[in-house]
Point group: C2
Chain length 229, copies 2
């Protein structure tokens, strides 16, 4: 591993990797400005400071560039939630743990709209992620399922609940908040958003269904009682 002098081959490979990362950074910028489907190799090359043909030394096609961005985004959100789930492990009651995790997830999605659109919608007509890239996205769902299993083992989710149903309902619920917020208030964040503000209420509903039986029934939030903070 440790070499007295860095070998030229290593330096070359490291510099190459740095260039790849720079291309991905800039591709993300371009997509943020021109839309996910509006990625242009010429525009990327111009900002990198090279000519368009040179990009083909790093990515064999535009699709490959999309795929690399997809994989990067999947890895990033996976890492973010891998960190978040253990942090809410001992939070009680269930609603508090769910709200914390949902806010982390929502915050990441709103802060990374390009990744979110590429990962969770289908904005690019011809593009399908490769199996390798898609597996990272699947790992996120698996991670959430494991988290739910932990919650059930900890007694926060009722023991007779179907985890797959709970997971499905959870995914739909968070997807609803995020899609509405991204489409109707893309410049608001998780604290100020009109739709992220629905999270506490929706999570109360969710917890009433999947939480332990001895939970006090919260019923409806009445007029004017909807506060995030």
């Amino acid at each position: 591993m440790a070499a007295a002098l860095p070998e030229p081959a290593d330096r070359r490979q490291r510099r190459r990797q740095e260039t790849i990362e720079e291309i991905l950074d800039i591709a993300l910028d371009v997509m943020a400005e021109h839309g996910v489907a509006g990625l242009s190799l010429g525009e990327v090359a111009r900002r990198v400071g090279i000519r368009p043909p040179s990009l083909y030394g790093y990515f064999p096609s535009k699709q490959a560039l999309y795929d690399a961005v997809f994989a990067r985004g999947a890895g990033a959100i996976l890492e973010a939630m891998s960190t978040s789930y253990p942090q809410v492990r001992d939070v009680q009651p269930l609603t508090a743990a769910l709200l914390l995790a949902a806010r982390r997830f929502t915050a990441w999605c709103l802060a990374n709209p390009v990744y979110s659109q590429l990962l969770f919608w289908r904005p690019v007509p011809g593009f399908t992620p490769s199996d390798a890239s898609y597996s990272a996205a699947v790992a996120l769902v698996d991670l959430t399922r494991t988290w739910f299993a932990d919650l059930r083992d900890a007694g926060l989710i009722r023991p007779d609940a179907d985890l797959d149903l709970a997971l499905r309902d959870w995914v739909v619920l968070t997807a609803g908040v995020i899609s509405q917020q991204m489409a109707n208030g893309p410049d608001e964040d998780v604290d100020t958003g009109r739709f992220t503000a629905a999270l506490p209420n929706l999570i109360d509903m969710f917890a009433h269904t999947y939480g332990p039986a001895d939970r006090p029934s919260p019923r409806s939030r009445r007029k004017g009682t909807d506060r995030v903070h």
Copy 2:
């Protein structure tokens, strides 16, 4: 109004309107095949059987064409739900009424993915609907609010519920189902979809929060009890 003989000006205007409708039909086809952002005027012209410049006799720009499609879609879903809401007016209990309406709405969205994406997401970078077109989309929300008010007057929604909060939660909930279904199972319909199957469960949660106080608490659906039919 009634003329013994149709005036040439009328015939001309009618034919012109028919051409406009045909262009919109074909634009919808092209978007379905190439993605909403992949609309190409040349492709539309080719299918209509005219040359691209001739399109400019009907729409002054590509944006105007998008706007016309947007307005058409908004009008269509508004009409669909204007018909649906009165039909579920006397359905009881609340969950049955909500489920019927949600299934109508979801079915329309899944059957009209191009309209849905254009109306509810932001897939076209430079495009913003005109005020006139957007008002039709707002009218849909207003219509749903009126429906909720009717439900409250009928005693199906608890009298102390905040209708705006209920509306927001309802929109988020249905948006979650639709966005997940469109992104992850675009070829499934409302009856076979993996995410539309979550509607009964989610609606139970919703009804428990906003329904009348004397409703029996349904609690969680247990393992294997999740049936749509």
